[in-house]
């Protein structure tokens, strides 16, 4: 018999349930008997020993459901080594829960922060298999993460809606897309939504070039312009600041987010009526798109196979259309960013999309 712990950590996204269903169905369909313990609210459940023994029906009907039925929470890695408010050693507590339940393996679904902790637990001797969950698609070691395509769909849908209203009123519209550090989501939603200008963290922008693009469109007879702007879009000047200086600048900013600052500056420089829309957390929610359902199910199923094979210490990833196992030490602490010279960026430029560079 195998005893498995399962948890979802970090910001939630679509297809978490689909992925867990994939793991569970594979385990329950195997010959070996399996017990699956679900920890509530991410690592907190593991630390404070809050869990439920899950059965076959817990995983039934959840393929199409957004969110995570186990709950999630963000546990900042920085503080994982520090004791909690009551002085509890969190890592020791997690190991204790693991041992108390005599677990053979932990299945951990999460993004970058989650993988740092997962790797730590692995180095502490726990058996761990992870699944790459994030709408940002910024996990190292995998071409794709689940949640990403669903978020692209939501953000694109927002741009589609803005398109008709922008065209009717002859306005400039900024749609702020999630992504503080990487621009995959903004780049894809921007291309899918027919944005004219795309600003992402990896390609610092020059506002004058943005203004020039809007003017050029206007002169060509286009009444409106759509900008897809990542939360972490950064100007060329700001990109010269140190991280610390820039963080301070953001904290002291009077704008709720960067898009509002860009909007105000654009209005001043161009005279156009610039509006901002922030789809925000809707990008994490709703039913996963069919692509993510298939993808998460496949990854989950392969994670189940790894567990049955007793092959631990890996993230199940996707490389060159093959599902692969990636050692956790290769994943943890790295970001997969948009290369400004990547072919997708070049193609976007050939289509006439301006990145402000």
């Amino acid at each position: 018999m195998k005893r498995i712990g399962m948890l979802t950590s970090g910001g939630d996204c679509q297809a978490l349930n689909a992925a867990m269903r994939g793991v569970a169905k594979t385990l329950f369909n195997a010959k070996e008997q399996v017990e699956i313990y679900g920890f509530l609210d991410g690592y907190q459940g593991l630390i404070y020993s809050r869990f439920r023994l899950l059965n076959y029906h817990d995983f039934s009907g959840i393929l199409t459901k957004g969110g995570t039925f186990l709950g999630s929470s963000r546990t900042p890695f920085k503080t994982i080594r520090e004791p909690d408010a009551e002085g509890l050693d969190k890592v020791a507590a997690m190991k204790q829960t693991y041992n108390k339940l005599q677990l053979d393996c932990l299945v951990i679904l999460g993004g970058n922060g989650t993988h740092k902790t997962a790797h730590l637990l692995s180095t502490e001797g726990l058996n761990v298999v992870t699944l790459p969950k994030t709408i940002d698609n910024d996990l190292w070691g995998t071409d794709m993460t689940f949640g990403f395509q669903s978020a692209v769909d939501v953000a694109t849908n927002a741009i589609d809606c803005i398109h008709t209203t922008a065209a009717s009123h002859g306005r400039v519209f900024i749609v702020e897309v999630m992504g503080h550090k990487v621009g995959w989501l903004t780049l894809n939603a921007g291309m899918a939504g027919g944005a004219d200008i795309i600003l992402i963290p990896e390609i610092p922008y020059d506002l004058d070039k943005v203004v020039a693009k809007i003017r050029e469109r206007h002169e060509r007879g286009s009444r409106f312009t759509i900008l897809a702007v990542a939360e972490g879009a950064i100007s060329k000047e700001d990109a010269k600041l140190s991280k610390k200086e820039y963080r301070k600048k953001l904290e002291e900013s009077k704008y709720p987010s960067i898009s509002f600052e860009i909007a105000e500056k654009l209005t001043k420089k161009s005279g156009f009526d610039v509006r901002v829309t922030v789809p925000g957390h809707t990008q994490r929610g709703g039913s996963p798109c069919p692509y993510d359902r298939v993808f998460a199910s496949r990854l989950g199923s392969e994670a189940g196979k790894l567990i049955l094979d007793g092959s631990y210490g890996f993230m199940v990833g996707y490389k060159n259309r093959e599902i692969v196992k990636v050692p956790l030490e290769e994943v943890a602490g790295k970001l997969k960013m948009v290369d400004p010279n990547a072919s997708i960026v070049q193609e976007a430029k050939m289509l006439g999309i301006c990145f402000g560079d």
Copy 2:
């Protein structure tokens, strides 16, 4: 032969094109010959004589398209009587364009502000037929306006997406729904999305009651709470201020919108993690929902019939499931608000929804 002018004014919404197609198809299918002139960007096209002669194919394939192919603009009624920057008398200019083109009638699609101007033109002797367009459903004289149900769909979809993420993280989420003066959209989207708390302009709220509701849910085992908050939601204290005082207070507020203020206060009072999402202009955009397509087509078709009958000075409205003609003087300058004692509000309360009153 009949010569018709057509324009769309005010904030755009879904099904404007569907309504214009309804008018045009009815006119083109009639025995009498008809010429339709489309004025660009609302009343501006009429004032500055910017128009196109439209043919059958201009109205083909637009049933499902959001926005307005004629463009729109907001022309504040207050200033319609004042000359423009170049000293032009706008009303006289509109009459001149009307007479120059020897129009038999103007078809005007718009909301409250638009209807004030349409009524003015009617009293000035122009033949006018109007159609009730607004996502707010606040036009007097009609049970329903087109655009409303489509906006409900977009706003509900946003709440649906937020639902899964709120549930996963055990958070309090505010979804800010459009509506500065009336709460129909927030009320319907809130009920459709399963919001626990709905705050609308017509029912001033007491924040303590909102906090109490969140606490009650929490104690009952619900991990999260969703608030649907209209842009014009107002607290009981603020409702005591004069309009002028309140406007000043809003202008001086440091918050981008009321939801952010409510969020900060809720966090302070309750200790919960409160997040805000603002779907914003997406609520006006995208393809009209089937309900709106049918409804706008029907209204448009009846407007066409009025024109063929030479019956002018009316808005085509909807009362008790009948399409009716409503004299413009009954429509202009009035708002159809949510009655706090309306049965739909009582039903919402029976369902357990808190209005903070």
Copy 3:
């Protein structure tokens, strides 16, 4: 304390769960204590005493879910008076279950057939409150039924998809919409989807007029034609047959449904390439649209109120934008059909839509 039985009967549709949630929330939120028993698979659960005591959480999270969590089945009214295969008197069995559980009232959700049985139970002395569920919108005594608008959305979406492919290939396409006896769904989906020809049971068609319409479109330069055809569309000749003769003719037909027969005849008469699409049961499924969620919640809430008031023997309906209670004897056995002279039909004709009459 009140003890309530609840069941859903007949073909399922969207918003059944939303309606039950509305009833339950209203009852659970009331001061009086309430027990709700859910009977499984419609009247069968009542006959064979298969039920579950339901609690607050059974109704949580179901607002957006299609289908019915209680299950449903079709129990033909004709045979309700006859004993079942084992000789059981079904009506007596239902009364026995009702009495055994000491129920105060049955809440029954269903369409036409369901209402006949509900009325029968009411005349047999049971307390009954019903809710109007059907995608056909053919229930007497109410302007609207829940499920209808959601089905319109699904059918319209199918027509939208067909539109692009029909236009690309210059084809004639038939989309077969549900509705054996009434044409509300076909009429609304057809208008919403921009169908050129709509055939419904209430308006027998002349195939030559259909062919003439296709030719006229073709000559006008339209490459394609879309027909929305109700399952129960009937030709003028067939409309002259007796019901019995026509049923026999259908049974002996080699075509899976009427659309295929129309397609073959159209091809022969016109020479056009005619294709058929049958969205079928998808029209009953999926998440209810926001309109239906609000509407079903409101009806459910008012049903809860009736129960708390001890007011039995009614269907909760909707008339002239008011929620009303309709005596069951007025509802049972009647069909609300499309009047060929109704204003919506006239408007459709003004838009150029051909009904083949």
Copy 4:
């Protein structure tokens, strides 16, 4: 200056317009001057010299539109070498049009049949660049085709809708998915929709195993079963027939399609109530999904680059996440089928999905 001809051939699909927009934007944005001629209705436009000179605005606003604004038609390859009804040599006619317009290159968008003809034209000395369009994803030389993911979305949505109704009534439902020769679409939509049984052409089925799976589910407490069945699903017995024998058998079959035959046999063997739904041509229609919009835009843009580089005789494909050029002779006449041992099939089986093998 470059003169380009463009045509779309074969069954239409989503993102054809997006791909053409990608090519055109890239060409119009290049320094070199470009003329683009659009041939109407596929190869027919080329044969009979029916075309339009296209400008920048023809490609504006079409990113999100389904179908093809140039029209399409199926030209069976078998007969391309034979003269048409009037004795015209089709290949010679195409060359004549090409030469008359002094074209530098033809951009051809299509699937398998289209590529055979495109290759033929290439061997006849015309410059050709092609783009892989098909909902079937069965083109050799590319990991992905545009149209595929959008079709997966439509088919999955149909299964989602059927899910709720199947669950409510405890029925067995067959959803027939497009694909006569290959099963990619059925496999992906089936997995995304949570189908329990998937039958595809590449894996002949044994009906007894299908019945056993339904029984097993029933005994486990599942009230319903969903089958995703490809149009070209084939039983083990029929797979032993020669192609000719099997085609004859199909032609003589009394069933409109294979699903109806399977349904009847399943009902006989299992006693379950089995229903069939055929989404049909809706799978080709509607707005392309964001994935396809990005993908088609990228391919189109790279096709534009090839043309600018004067690099002809290639299909623009996608291999291992890189956009590549594939010589036409490698593409023509080959099918990319599902390998029964592919990891995606193994994963589906681990999830408990039955293929009937």
